[in-house]
């Protein structure tokens, strides 16, 4: 779950000054395009990671159930 750290790096770090130049991308100022593209990438990544977690969580739950019962005893 390193995603929020990546997010901070992309959107709230001095890295922003790198793209803060007076250019345009398809008519959109580069820094605006950068912020929105990075944002979209994070959303996609979060979705991929979330699906993976759900899949492994289900498997883990099954594996962990007898273990948990044992511990509580």
């Amino acid at each position: 779950m390193a995603l929020p750290f990546l997010g901070v790096l992309l959107l709230a770090s001095p890295l922003l000054f790198v793209v803060a130049v007076d250019r345009t991308l398809l008519g959109v100022p580069l820094i605006v395009a950068y912020v929105f593209i990075a944002w979209a990438l994070l959303i996609v990544a979060a979705r991929v990671v979330g699906r993976r977690i759900l899949a492994t969580a289900a498997a883990e739950e099954q594996a962990a159930a007898p273990h948990a019962a044992h511990r509580q005893r």
């Binding site: 922003l16 000054f17 345009t24």
Partner: protein, 900 residues
């Protein structure tokens, strides 16, 4: 322009629709058919109550004023949600396990169910929400006036506030079961989320393609300063990202929808990407709308109203109406959820404790606490909107929407240290949380809230009483910083420092310790069922009293159902349940769902004359700590043990090496010593064999030599055998009490002949006959004879003398044997005790050099010592000490055996 009546009718129709959705939602939920109501999609849409009319109108206003900066308000929450694994997951689990009803309940519950903390957080939340409510009132008022063309600002705002209050009271407190989740409200909020997104997307598309004619065209008209990197990515960018991230966790309404209304933890996974996506879509057209507003609307238009002014300017009345409904949606959803969350906090943490105190005192059978709570919630909702209206009136409605919202954000963020710290750090204490919250809250009021209400006041510009150092926007000389950044730095850093600092030094009550452990390790305790079962120790509780209390708080029917249910589980169907641990824990959780953890706990404590919390769980924690300490201790011991073993091994190894060297030397010396007699035996026997002509006389002399050398050889071998036995401990030495004088005399008798031959004078001073020593008589004799004969043999003086004296030294006797033959040098003193070493006085043919080592080994085996003692004048003598028989002899030591 649309007529007021049309607008009112549409708004009213929309409200009716919301009611219908809420009603259906509640009914479906109660019939357990509303599967879709509990879907991750609805959950995510309800979280989007984050996007209020600040987003709907204010974001465009903010973009028009400060450009890209508006995006931070949505980037902060995006970062929090994509990082759900770290914070939200834990919050949701804690909320479910501990039946948390609000953020104040969470903080109070974490810090030992402290009612003081609950009140502080409630008051802080109430204050922070006031400008936020004012923001909604202002946006509805302004948009209504824009679309209807009227200008009676205050009057309109008043009626908007009244309408919203009535609407929220009807909406939020319809349900009698105050502890249930608000399924209907959640459904309505989800619908509103769709409406506001659709409206904003519609007007955005209209602005870009309908007005400007394309994306490139709209950005062509963008003023340069809107995306000026110098101003956009400054301290405000980072501060606002942080604040927005904190707000999405700490705002009472966000906590309500994210944590309290959560029905399934897995929904968080969906929300983690879908909620950021929602905000992404909401933000997509904000910048184009701001550019279009500046480009196409008359100069001087309010940027906060660009969204609705744009369709009006291009005569798109239907679109304008949709926008109005969208803005109305954003505002109403925020007001509803915030008011429900806040009224729950007020009624649970302020009204309920007071009501319970009255209830306990009167102990009257009548008086339904529930009724009091519902009424107090209604009054609170009206008061919240009243405060919002008051704030709007005082601040003159001139502020930008975003600025008002940010004031609320900084206020809400003050809860973050106590909340986040509380779920990850077991050491966090109630005193720390209280100190941090109080200081942070006061600093926020002083540096941001109050100056915003009276920006022109003299005390703001030059400090109260003209004290420049106390200027609220340049506290202690912190100048040149944006007021928002200034307030954030001061309030949050002082808050955090005090929280941590006071926590470290403040003592912890048992219940704080317990709750801290339960919260921080919420994932370890499973679903809370097992650990909760032992929450109470047995105590005197009359089940009838509990039943009466439960009826007053939960309502007669619910209480009856709950008690029946518990009784059935206990196997007592048809009777009242037994107030055991599990039953008490469940009752407390049920009550906590209605009146908050602190109140429920306090109530049960009083009802049962109880004791502090869960003794068994406290014991568990103590056990765990104990175990940890034991493990650490064992580990330390193990380490020490290992170190000791290692150094012992090192020592043993060194000793072995030394012994190995000694053995090698010993062997080479033995072979050398054996070689000398063997050589002479061999050479004389060879002569006897090979020379036939030798005379009988010579033959006899040679055989004598061979005989003497054989004897010497035998004696040498005997000695070697003896010393190796002594050193390995193989030969037993039996100690028995014997007279010291007799033993010495016996030895003297043996050497008398030798002494007489050598002309040595013996000077003997014997002890009294009653002095008895513990020794082996034969062995002692052997030692003494060895020492005496050495003294005789190696005496080179012209008039040789030997003196024997005895001295008593405590529990020992010292036998000193001295001679006038020159003694030994200090260098020699130890060397002469090693094997095959001969003193310089010894001639080449005299002895094998084993006498002294054997003597020393024997004496040591008898518990004594054999040393060379030097007098002050440089002369020396041999001293043998031996234990007296009447004192217990020290344990017989064998250093070599111990090393192996």
């Amino acid at each position: 322009m649309l007529s007021q009546d049309t607008i009112l009718a549409v708004a009213l129709g929309y409200v009716v629709l919301l009611f219908a959705v809420a009603f259906l939602g509640d009914r479906r939920a109660s019939l357990a058919r509303g599967r879709w109501l509990q879907s991750p999609l609805v959950y995510t849409l309800s979280i989007s109550v984050y996007c209020t009319s600040w987003t709907f109108y204010g974001a465009v206003g903010s973009a028009a004023r400060s450009g890209l900066e508006f995006a931070t308000i949505y980037l902060g929450p995006t970062l929090v949600f994509i990082g759900w694994w770290w914070t939200l997951r834990k919050l949701v689990r804690i909320g479910r396990v501990h039946r948390i009803t609000s953020i104040a309940d969470l903080v109070s519950s974490r810090y030992g169910k402290s009612s003081t903390l609950a009140v502080v957080v409630t008051l802080l939340a109430l204050t922070a929400t006031t400008p936020y409510i004012a923001l909604q009132l202002q946006s509805i008022t302004a948009s209504f006036e824009a679309i209807s063309g009227t200008t009676h600002e205050t009057r309109t705002a008043f009626w908007v506030a009244c309408g919203l209050a009535a609407f929220t009271i009807l909406f939020g407190t319809r349900t009698i079961n105050a502890n249930e989740r608000h399924h209907g409200v959640v459904a309505a909020i989800a619908l509103e989320a769709v409406v506001k997104l659709a409206a904003l997307l519609a007007v955005g598309i209209f602005a870009v393609w309908g007005v400007a004619g394309g994306i490139g065209e709209i950005f062509d008209r963008m003023p340069e300063e809107m995306v000026d990197p110098e101003t956009v990515f400054g301290p405000r960018w980072f501060t606002m990202t942080l604040l927005a991230g904190a707000a999405v966790l700490c705002l009472p309404r966000q906590f309500q929808v994210t944590v309290v209304e959560n029905t399934d933890e897995r929904h968080l996974v969906t929300a983690s990407w879908m909620f950021p996506l929602y905000m992404f879509l909401m933000s997509l057209f904000v910048l184009p709308l701001a550019i279009a507003g500046q480009a196409y609307l008359p100069a001087g238009s309010n940027p906060d109203l660009y969204v609705i002014e744009l369709p009006l300017a291009f005569d798109q009345q239907a679109l304008a109406l949709l926008v109005f409904i969208g803005g109305f949606s954003s505002a109403t959803s925020m007001v509803i959820v915030a008011a429900i969350a806040l009224s729950t906090m007020v009624s649970n943490h302020i009204v309920a404790p007071l009501a319970l105190r009255a209830l306990m005192r009167s102990n009257a059978a009548s008086g339904d606490v529930r009724e009091v709570l519902i009424t107090s919630r209604r009054i609170t909702i009206a008061a919240i909107l009243g405060l919002g209206f008051l704030y709007l009136t005082i601040s003159d409605g001139a502020a930008a929407l975003a600025a008002m919202g940010l004031i609320a954000f900084v206020g809400a963020a003050q809860v973050l240290p106590a909340m986040a710290g509380g779920i990850v750090w077991r050491g966090a204490t109630r005193a720390g949380a209280l100190a941090g919250l109080a200081a942070g809250g006061l600093l926020w009021l002083y540096t941001l809230f109050l100056p915003a209400l009276a920006p022109e006041a003299a005390w703001v510009a030059s400090g109260p009483f003209g004290l420049a150092v106390l200027r609220p926007q340049a506290l202690l000389g912190l100048t040149g910083v944006d007021p928002l950044v200034h307030a954030t730095i001061w309030s949050l850093s002082v808050n955090t420092l005090l929280f941590i600092g006071v926590s470290i030094f403040a003592p912890m009550r048992p219940l704080e310790l317990l709750q801290g452990a339960l919260f921080v390790q919420v994932f370890r305790s499973g679903d809370g069922g097992a650990s909760d079962a032992q929450r109470f120790t047995h105590r005197e509780a009359a089940i009838e009293d509990l039943f009466v209390l439960a009826q007053r708080i939960l309502g007669a029917d619910t209480a009856r159902r709950l008690f029946d249910d518990i009784a059935r589980e206990q196997g007592n169907e048809g009777r009242l349940p037994v107030p055991d641990d599990a039953m008490m824990a469940r009752l407390e959780r049920e009550l906590a769902g209605s009146i908050g953890a602190a109140s429920a706990h306090a109530m049960l404590m009083r009802a049962t004359g109880g004791e502090i919390g869960s003794l068994s769980e406290l014991l568990d924690i103590a056990d765990e700590t104990q175990k940890l300490m034991e493990t650490t201790l064992t580990l330390a011991e193990k380490t020490e043990e290992l170190e000791q073993t290692a150094s012992a091994l090192r020592r043993a190894n060194e000793r072995l090496r030394r012994l190995d060297r000694q053995k090698d030397e010993f062997l080479s010396q033995v072979s050398h010593e054996l070689r000398t007699p063997m050589t002479s035996i061999r050479s004389f026997s060879e002569i006897l064999l090979s020379e036939p002509g030798i005379t009988q006389e010579e033959r006899t002399r040679f055989v004598d030599i061979i005989h003497a050398e054989s004897i010497r050889l035998t004696r040498l071998l005997d000695e070697i055998l003896d010393i190796s036995r002594l050193e390995s401990g193989a030969s037993e030495i039996q100690l028995e009490p014997l007279s010291a004088a007799e033993a010495i005399q016996g030895a003297l008798d043996s050497v008398t002949g030798l002494a007489r031959t050598a002309g040595v004078t013996l000077d003997v001073d014997l002890p009294g006959h009653d002095l008895r020593i513990a020794a082996s008589p034969d062995r002692l004799r052997q030692v003494l004879i060895n020492l005496l004969s050495n003294a005789v043999k190696y005496n080179t003086s012209a008039t040789p003398r030997i003196a024997v004296s005895t001295t008593r030294l405590g529990g020992q006797i010292a036998v000193d044997i001295s001679d006038n033959g020159g003694g030994v040098t200090p260098d020699e003193a130890e060397e002469i005790f090693s094997k095959f070493a001969r003193g310089r006085r010894a001639g080449a043919e005299q002895g094998a050099g084993l006498g002294l080592p054997i003597s020393r080994a024997i004496v040591e085996r008898m518990g004594g010592t054999l040393t060379v003692v030097f007098r002050e004048d440089g002369t020396s003598f041999f001293r043998t000490t031996l234990a007296l028989a009447n004192v217990p002899a020290p344990a017989v030591k064998n250093p070599q055996a111990a090393a192996e």
